[in-house]
Symmetry: C2
Subunit: 141 residues, 2 copies
């Protein structure tokens, strides 16, 4: 069920590729080949904090965060998951789920604000998205 | 109920002051006067990921994260909450709940790994902890 007036923040839209629509959230892949990095955006307009969600929707959110984390662990090398809700720049509520590898470009620093994104090559982006969709059980988009 | 073999990571212990014991987590105040910054540590030994917690304990964790966020919002100025589970350096599962203010020392960057902590003055630490304990409903420690 989509809330009518929800619209993805244009900066999130520009920086990501759509992976899947879960019951509450859109799942996006950050277009940064340095880090396997998903972003979950609840389809509710005007949200900035997790606390602003009704408690039932919060439960859905945590389940979907878990699901995204499991999908990442099943899809890519991952020494540590980094999960974060920041929103200091883009205020639309969004949750980062990032698979970190020891020795990755930013390790052990956080990925947020670290250097410049390195976009995926087209074929690499397609195959990564296909793999993720398969893990999320998305049959077609 | 404390799990017998849980022990707080010595680095977390060194960097924080104890605020409260919730049903699942110890709540700690980061000794860094630049940012109002709580850390929640589930009293379970050997955990590194939220996913490793049984689902019932995960529900408790999310509730306690919410509670910590509400306490911060009620206690200090807060333009944006930053919530994060990283653990790239200290692997013991711990969740950061930070009250950010526009224009604070690191704004809009994340606080993790940003510059050097500035310890509270003793009286300021005591009054901050007292205020937080009152909000958590802790009557004595």
């Amino acid at each position: 069920m989509r809330t009518i007036d929800f619209a993805l923040d244009p900066r999130l839209q520009a920086d990501t590729h759509h992976v899947a629509s879960l019951p509450l959230c859109e799942v996006l892949l950050m277009n940064d080949a340095r880090f396997p990095w998903l972003i979950l955006v609840p389809r509710r307009a005007g949200l900035t904090e997790i606390l602003d969600l009704p408690s039932e929707a919060q439960r859905d959110l945590w389940q979907e965060i878990n699901r995204a984390a499991e999908v990442l662990r099943a899809t890519v090398a991952c020494d540590k998951l980094n999960i974060g809700a920041l929103g200091n720049i883009v205020r639309q509520l969004h949750i980062h789920v990032v698979a970190r590898r020891e020795g990755d470009d930013a390790w052990p620093a956080p990925v947020w604000g670290y250097g410049r994104a390195e976009p995926y090559a087209d074929d690499s982006l397609s195959s990564q998205v296909a793999l993720l969709r398969q893990q999320f059980g998305v049959t077609q988009e």
